[in-house]
């Protein structure tokens, strides 16, 4: 399965990417996607972030299912 991953703010700057595509096995979870991202972008290792799957907060255990978009959400600081 394919999923788009979005990177924002400091994560975008650290990786040099705002959007990457991952190819993962069927039944993959957010955690599987994270493992692949860490392999590709070691700069993500010491970063703090949450996950969002199709615009809703998710956890590493959440199945990607038919989701189209995974986002790494660094600590928010709007307002």
């Amino acid at each position: 399965m394919k999923i788009a991953v979005l990177l924002f703010a400091g994560l975008r700057e650290a990786t040099g990417e705002s959007r990457v595509e991952l190819e993962l096995g069927d039944g993959a979870t957010v955690g599987d996607a994270q493992a692949e991202l860490l392999r590709r972008f070691p700069a993500l290792r010491e970063r703090r972030y949450a996950f969002a799957l199709d615009h809703h907060y998710a956890t590493a255990a959440t199945a990607l299912g038919s989701a189209r978009e995974l986002a790494l959400i660094p600590p928010v600081s709007g307002g």
Partner: protein
């Protein structure tokens, strides 16, 4: 008559509060409460030169919708406009404006406070501060 409408908008242009106050109000409202967040010239003991804001709008929309729902359950809020800037902001410019309209003032004050407090916790918007000697995305290293 009252109607129900809560909305989040992003803009790269300066925010004008006055039009929002009129837009949010309906004839059944006795109170319009607003909040303006503005760019301060210092933070974390440093002089701030300017800010850059970045957002993830489709998710911000979803998360803000949950907060509007929360405010409706707690305070009966039906009418609110939230406008957030993106891009580069200079000192003194408004980064966010919130306008809520309610039949009575108590619910308005509470709902407005609730929306800004919760926005800062869950809505995917990021602020980068640039100082005389560098810059930092806020919240990242803490």
């Amino acid at each position: 008559m009252t109607s129900s409408r809560c909305e989040l908008r992003f803009t790269s242009a300066c925010i004008a509060l006055e039009p929002l106050l009129e837009e949010v109000r309906s004839d059944g409202d006795g109170a319009v409460v607003s909040f303006l967040g503005v760019v301060r010239d210092h933070a974390r003991g440093k002089r701030v030169r300017f800010l850059d804001y970045e957002a993830y709008p489709p998710m911000a929309e979803v998360q803000m919708r949950l907060l509007f729902e929360e405010a409706r359950e707690r305070f009966g809020l039906e009418r609110a406009l939230v406008v957030h800037r993106t891009g580069r902001l200079q000192i003194g410019e408004a980064s966010v404006a919130i306008a809520v309209a309610t039949p009575h003032r108590a619910a308005g004050f509470e709902a407005c406070r609730h929306l800004i407090d919760r926005l800062k916790e869950t809505v995917p918007i990021w602020k980068k501060e640039t100082y005389e000697d560098g810059s930092a995305w806020i919240g990242e290293r803490s």
